[in-house]
Symmetry: C2
Subunit: 200 residues, 2 copies
Amino acid sequence: MARVSAEDRRRQLVSAAFRVIGRDGFAQATTRAICTEAGAPLASFHYCFASKQELLGELTTQTLDALADARADGTHIRGDVAESLRATLRFYWQTVEDDPGRESVLMALTQHALNDPGLAGVAEQHYTAYHRTARETLEEIAAGCGVTWDLPVEQLARMFIVVTDGVTLAWLVDHDSAAAVAALDAFAGQLATFAGRSEP
Amino acid sequence: MARVSAEDRRRQLVSAAFRVIGRDGFAQATTRAICTEAGAPLASFHYCFASKQELLGELTTQTLDALADARADGTHIRGDVAESLRATLRFYWQTVEDDPGRESVLMALTQHALNDPGLAGVAEQHYTAYHRTARETLEEIAAGCGVTWDLPVEQLARMFIVVTDGVTLAWLVDHDSAAAVAALDAFAGQLATFAGRSEP
DNA sequence: AACCGTCTGGGACAACTGACCCAGTTTGAG
DNA sequence: CTCAAACTGGGTCAGTTGTCCCAGACGGTT
């Protein structure tokens, strides 16, 4: 077994845990399974982490950060609002198709965080970050297209999230990509009707 | 410990499992926890069910049936399409608020079914039933309001599910009922724009 | 080369879980 | 009342899991 610094081991174990959860589900993510996946000795687990809980915390943080990064530049300005929304939603969808495991993991983490008192607030934190990103995206689109939103942007942000989460959840079940994209396009057109001409 | 017929025990254990999952999450739903919740002796578990798997199957079936029943008469025809959609979505929402545990359980079951090879297809089955209900609802509304849908009803049904699932998922995280209802109302207005006047 | 902190190997351990068992008690049909 | 079927009590059992332990191997510094 190669000798690896504790710092690198932490990273390896976290990303191994990510892969295991994405592939086999949360329940299968045992310390042994994670170490095997990482190619690490079992002893290194509690050498690097005080507990499994600590690894899960690290995993959650990293996953949410990666998510924020991936979607920070997800806004796409096109000709008009409808096109911009469509392009942005399609870009989001591309990130889902590119790495469906991430969505599985996010869903599993959310589900788990809702029940585990030790992770109370994690789901809310996840959701708040998600909401902020959606709001920023909508504001950028409005600014880029020279319009204002007829509804409070907070409400539109929630609708945006409802659409992305809902479409993703449905796809995780039936893997119907065509239907997912069609739904996203339709919602893009719908949400665009909330844009009004900006006062000069 | 009171003596109860095996048939009644089955029912007790299933509803106890439902309560445990809703309250403490799927992982905590051990045979012992379920029996304690039901006030049943541990031995009755494997007297009534061949395995835990069998109880979960029964639980899934009953939960989906109850869901179908609860929403079978969930369609509400009002003055126009927008109002009808709003009333129908609000009625759906009432069922969620009345029993948030059911949604938690459904989400947990779905999540679990996606990963457990032994329950392969259960999530799809759940989703298919859900889809059929949505389609019927939309067709009833169209008929009741004397309109036709401009989009294939299958696509609208998916959008309907995306909205309900998305709103529910968001609410499970932040419990913001006002925002949930506002989002549903907004989506009702949006979906109504897909209705065209029926050809006489 | 000698040394000391860092990491690994190969276990061990108690707790918990699903499943099983069977003698004994209760119940209801005859 | 009798008696077989139905149900319960109080265990056992093997497997898994999170956590822990410590002797030894490694590797960079002196």
